[in-house]
Point group: C2
Chain length 360, copies 2
Amino acid sequence: MSPRTTGQVHIIGAGLLGTSIGLALRQQNVDVTITDASPANESLAIDFAAGRKLASQDAVSLVVVCVPPDVTAKTVIQALNDFPSAVVTDVASVKSTVLAELVASRSDTSRYVGSHPMAGREKGGTLAGRADLFVGRPWVIAIETNSSSNAAQQVEQLALDLGSTPIRMSAQEHDHAVALISHTPQLISSLLAAQLASADDKDLSLSGQGLRDTTRIAASDPRLWLQILSANSGQLIPVLKSFEKDLEQVIEALEHVGTSGSLSKLGKVLETGNLGISRLPGKHGSTNTSYAQVVVMIDDKPGELARLLTEIGAAGLNVEDLNLDHASGAQVGLVELSVLPAIEEKLVSTLRANGWKLAG
Amino acid sequence: MSPRTTGQVHIIGAGLLGTSIGLALRQQNVDVTITDASPANESLAIDFAAGRKLASQDAVSLVVVCVPPDVTAKTVIQALNDFPSAVVTDVASVKSTVLAELVASRSDTSRYVGSHPMAGREKGGTLAGRADLFVGRPWVIAIETNSSSNAAQQVEQLALDLGSTPIRMSAQEHDHAVALISHTPQLISSLLAAQLASADDKDLSLSGQGLRDTTRIAASDPRLWLQILSANSGQLIPVLKSFEKDLEQVIEALEHVGTSGSLSKLGKVLETGNLGISRLPGKHGSTNTSYAQVVVMIDDKPGELARLLTEIGAAGLNVEDLNLDHASGAQVGLVELSVLPAIEEKLVSTLRANGWKLAG
């Protein structure tokens, strides 16, 4: 399949996102050049097959700016000057601040379309780059009234070539959305994990999957997030204040557990939490798909999981989601299989017949 | 292997925990009787093979009280009366309140040892019961000065028979630990999910794994958690106030992003979060095991994952952790394999040689 992107793509910044974009485009034989403020990073990205070095005779058609948030606007302005016939986009996590600096600089914003792929990993850097980083992820295209339709289309085609779903929003709509669904969870997760920093080892020895899940993203890079959070402070503060108000009410309710009405306030927060999570979009882009879960205990040795899945495949049954967990302190694996409810019974009877140890 | 538990075990309460204990003991041919305030639940649990009905001539050796937290103490007191030669334990998530009621009732506390298996699921009820629910999980044995050593030993043997790791703590030490590692994450997750309840669909369409992980446990049963949180309010409030103080500082820092010193306060919280998460115990009970990750893209059809794992098994390579994710909106699967760093290279070359599409 030939890519939608036809001209030369120039990537500025060979971190996680820049490298991943380069790898994905190179897989489709798009002509990609890549540069980085650090010559060592640039060489690494080129060795890693994310693109080639920019040459003086190159005719760049699309520039993708993938530098840290605090230097994004400056780099976009420079790119609009350096490549006077190219469309320029960036991938920064906050869009209004970049746009404001651009407008203030009187640059040619008709050739600029901000964008933001909703993809990432806890680890960053050139070698964390993955060609499939964007597959199936939303990619926000922040089209302003001044953007030319040709520019918008070129950026959308890039997103499609990388396997993403382009979603059109204004810069402000985008920043409002990510404050809620990305920046607030990041900050709350960090605050929660921060409470563990001075805890006793004995207390932490009781910790389970709930704590692990709620704090997982607290392992993210503080320098990057400091830039993102401060750039989007205007949208972030109202969400945090709403959270803080609810937290205050919960503390007050707990301080008066005996008083009538206190418990109902606490219960209300827990129920609203149930409601909130039920509104998250499900797998395959659909809402509220609910799978049946089947748990199998397997020996912790090579080949066991393969044997299990071979038998499931042989029965013509499709697994939607799979989680292998090694229970802490034990040398067994717990495999949680998620399947469509319609095939749960057949799966269970097949596995039982084959002698697998099923939970329940 | 014969179980450590030799006498008859009587379970009161056929919910998730009671049923799971019954299933696990029955698998090992322990004589189990089970009862529930709801006759329908009791029948269901017996049909589910979690135990048999209690008979008048039975000689119960150990009673396990698995009723909701707010009726636990009352039920333990009743059990100490009804079974005058049996040891009695309970599995409630908060231990000091149960103990205080018992002491006040002047019951024979030498035959009582409170306990708390650190295991659960987002769903509850008889049919959510699983024999392997406790495998590899810590099980707190809350021994007070008054508990007889025989009673403590019997409860510890139950925990071991169920595959758990018994950990001795006082009731107060336990309540302090769970406030930090279980009750606070639960409440914070609910508060975070509650912010989504009235969000726009378009905002939520951008949500990713970070939001999903941080809010997963917000799907838990509000009625149960209302009882747990209010019973442990004394230990919970200081942790929530510490969180609130940090949150206030973050909001203040965001309100003054331009002012010198503000960014460093925000950065400090993010770094402390990094430190906190690094202190969580790892897999296999060890601390800070860090695995190498290899991501493979597979077609979304039966047998693909099995074929992948068969080839890995054939190469003699062991997978420590596996995650299959169906990228939202796309019909491909992303398999993230976690392996010991020492075998990463061999895994990558084996998979490449066999034609698998590897990220990067």
